[in-house]
Chain length 304, copies 2
């Protein structure tokens, strides 16, 4: 049987409203929607109005901030996401640790130095900062945050964390307040989901509590950080550096960051490994097969 998805039927490249209208107008209108990534489409009332036949939404992204879960629940639309499994968590945790080592040990800055052929000419060296003994404050000790903690423990880092409630299963020090966590940390790692409370959770106040030797790592969501305040703090030397996989207005990265040697930036690639792509493909197909067989989704956010 040929594939009957909207892309294979020739709707690729259409603007979203036309794409949804085409899916709704078919004799067998779309019953499931696969949403790729966090920024391509918002699944909200108008999306669901456009294709009222959709009863199942699967998101391949690692967050649900682009899905109006209340609206889906109200309409009885089931929602599943790839990140309910472990598809992304280890890759994101690995990337966070990579960014931290890079910032502390100045790998990308050294890279630029070597590739410009400056080593034989200037003989400069870059003095980094040791991982061991650093107090790392993790905001959000979910699956990703926990894996970051486990990795950094092997480097001799001291783990603190912030979450709504302390976890019984860990011995790390808990802080109910992010400002207090920042004041007791050398590094802050943002590993929480984006919701109303977590918007600009890294504020000017938190950055000042972290202080001039402090480093911020963000693999959560761009708007978790007040980006303008972070850039100001970096420029004024009120924090020491940052490792960022995500930005407040992607794909726009403020040009002021481009020339900073103490900042390491990647373009939202923390989940991009060939292994996770193939896991994701399997998870997506398995969820769709379950839905079309009348079975519960395998990695649900909202109950079937």
């Amino acid at each position: 049987m040929p594939c009957r998805c909207s892309l294979c039927r020739g709707d690729a490249g259409k603007p979203l409203p036309a794409f949804l209208a085409a899916a709704a107008a078919r004799p067998d209108p779309a019953r499931a929607a696969v949403v790729v990534g966090g920024y391509s489409a918002r699944v909200d009332a108008s999306f669901l109005d456009a294709v009222p036949s959709v009863r199942f939404v699967f998101s391949t992204g690692a967050g649900v901030d682009h899905i109006d879960l209340h609206e889906c629940a109200r309409r009885g639309v089931a929602v599943a996401v790839a990140n309910s499994g472990t598809v992304y968590s280890t890759d994101v945790a690995d990337h966070a640790v990579g960014l931290l080592i890079d910032v502390l040990r100045r790998v990308s800055a050294a890279e630029r130095f070597v590739r410009r052929g400056l080593w034989p000419v200037q003989g400069d060296y870059l003095l980094g900062s040791k991982l061991g003994g650093k107090r790392v404050g993790i905001i959000g000790l979910g699956s990703i945050g926990s894996l970051i903690a486990k990795r950094l423990e092997a480097f001799g880092c001291i783990i603190h964390y912030n979450s709504r409630k302390p976890r019984d299963s860990v011995s790390y020090r808990h802080f109910s307040n992010v400002r207090d966590l920042a004041a007791e940390s050398d590094v802050l790692v943002v590993a929480c989901a984006l919701n109303k409370e977590a918007h600009h959770i890294i504020s000017k106040d938190v950055l000042d509590a972290l202080g001039k030797d402090g480093i911020v790592i963000n693999i959560g969501r761009g708007p978790n950080i007040d980006e303008a305040e972070m850039i100001r703090a970096l420029k004024e030397g009120r924090i020491a550096g940052a490792g960022l996989d995500i930005f407040e207005n992607e794909p726009k990265v403020p040009a002021e960051l481009w020339s900073m040697d103490n900042v390491v930036m990647t373009h939202h690639i923390a989940v991009f490994t060939s292994e996770s792509r193939s896991d994701l493909r399997d998870t997506t197909i398995a969820n769709l097969e379950a839905f079309f067989s009348g079975k519960p989704p395998l990695t649900p956010v909202l109950p079937w």
Copy 2:
């Protein structure tokens, strides 16, 4: 008492022979020599002939390939090095892991992409490769190699190693032959000292055994790798990438490497953290104090 070292006495900047001659010609000729790094001076017969009053050599470098230990032993010159302690090991291990994550997850390549402002224009993404499950073959399971293994275990890597003899204290799989290790590994990490047997231990043969998906990390010594063969293998896609802190003819880095996106290069900075510098200063002073008090060196290579 003012410092009486040759630098403080005004001999800084002299070429080495003149510097040594001045140290030997003083009424109280130099009794101890501090050698900075691995490439500034070779402590060999002619060095020791030039300042025959020297009875103690302290090297701040992480290796002893620049010190003729047999010649020192024959003359009864004690030798101590900073790396006998743990001054460098953790920093070098951290740097090795950082290079590996960077190569696998393409951090520096992504960095260049973002800093050129290409993200909004091209929308490209770089597909990396997962750390978990990678078989990492470590050549040399000394203090640095062991710390690398410990760190990579936390990422879910499978550790193999090569050393002259198997270690009873570890459960990792031992290979007595580097070619066999390469054939069973996805990543090779060079963490051994440089000696006659380890010169070009990463040969064409070993690179071919590692294969087209394989990655080489070098934090040992430049000449541990046959650099020309490695560059050829990278150009021809016979290996997948490399992370290099050291090079065969430092500070010269072959220009062919400068434009390769699958290579991450730093300029021999694996030991450069502000913490290790201050540890090093303390270790150096403590060894000199011990020597001048007639006590044994604290971190000896050759017995007092």
